[in-house]
Amino acid sequence: MIRQARALLAIVVSAFFLFPLYLVIANAFKTEPEILRSPARPPIGPTLDGMSGVLDAGDVGGGLVNSLLITGSTIALIMVLSSMLAFALHMSNSWVSNTIGAVILFGLILPTPVILIPVFRVLKYFSLQNSFPGLILFLCAYYAPFAVLVYRGFMRSIPKDLVEAASMDGASLGFIYWSVILPLLRPATASVLVITGVWVWNEFLPPLVLLGPLQGNTVTVGLFRSVGQFDVNFGQLFSYMLFVSIPVLVFYLALQRYFVRGLTAGATK
């Protein structure tokens, strides 16, 4: 009896957390009058009007491609750059590397609005303003501290003897990193990819500011810009939100085990 009551309560709590997502999914397949009459009702006789409408009217397709491109390049770069730095910090114990390790940690707490104005100026200095590479490089720098933290935590379990043995055999550090360390880091890499992937995909302010109005939008910026436009057509708005959400949800569900493990990596050191 108590067991059933507990299960019921657990289901009710979880359902409560799922409600907004349910709203997005249900209303993406309903007609405008249906949404307005009873927003919480499941779609009876689902329609694809909203989905096809938003694909025709807006720039969802282009936005999805841009977001995929930006997210993919950013997390691939983060993986390489952060694991390299983490490895360098792991192997060295000089004051320089200790300072770098400490300063990098500071990046974990930095709110994006604090630095976006000067970041735009710096990118402009390198002629990278309003460009995908500029945005990608900034996101790499911004999320590197988290990835370095995860990698460093994981590296504590890799014995230094292993590296020393390999370098005794004449292997260069670069070779050891590539053929010994990177394969060992695979679980940490999975965590880094899925967590930063979700964060980068959902980023809104950096693409809004750094890409500017002339470049193609990411899907989040596109959603934001279309809110006014779709204020009258909720079917299309909910469809747009579904397009923004599906990729992250799929990515998360596929790698959810690594998501939680990565987030707790810093806590269990």
């Binding site: 927003p39 104005i117 710096v122 550090l173 809104f204 707790t264």
Partner: protein
Amino acid sequence: MAMGLPTTALFVALVVAPIAITVTYSLNDVNFLRDEISWVGFENYAKLWDSGDFRHALYVTLLIAVASVVVPNALGLLFAVLLDAGSRLYTALRIILFAPFVLSPLVVGLTFRWTLANDGSLNNALEALGIPGPQWISSPNFAVVSVGLALAWQLIAFATVLYVAALRAIPTDLYEAASIDGASGYLRFRLITWPLVAPAVTITTLISLISALKLYDHVVALTGGGPGRASETVGLAIIRAGFTQNRAGLASAMAVLLLVITAATTAISIRVLRRREVDL
């Protein structure tokens, strides 16, 4: 050490240097349109001190930060105790419950705007229960509450999953030994559970604090900072001053203050919470 160079250079160019530039801008009058910059000392900070709008934005941000630390920690632990069981049902529920955390804050804000509208699902449900619902979006006080709710909804999901992971790592024989010694449910929680989830408290507190202090996306999607500027956060104030009004000096002064507040509060939290982890 050479392997760390590219990342370090990138980090210096796009994070460290921008922080230094922000500090410099905050002491200058900066006009990008006319490409002018002139030294004004602490004038921008003095302007902020006199600005009722900024003080209100600061108040809103700090209020949400406090609520975001307390509520997700408390409810997250409560829900985690509920969901900490071995069967497949609970595993599935835990995966589902985390989903809010991976959703775009914009999507979360927009769905909340829809749900909390005057004739939205929440007020309809309240009305069915005979309770008159408040104006969640258009009343100044409730707009702040709504923004806090949207953020909390994501953070509670995060906290719950983190606490479940911490609870599941506690060896069951600890509880068994305590039961044999006659410890009550409350004592077992106080002496075993609470100390052993300490690392999860630290992470939840830090993530919640940082998310609340940089709050921007949820607000833009849900209230746009309104009505008027009632629910404007410091993040919104920075972007409005810096980009909409072209007052980079003033915006940078706000940014420096936000950075100092973030650094101080996280440093204090880490100090307090880590001590708890060690002591117990």
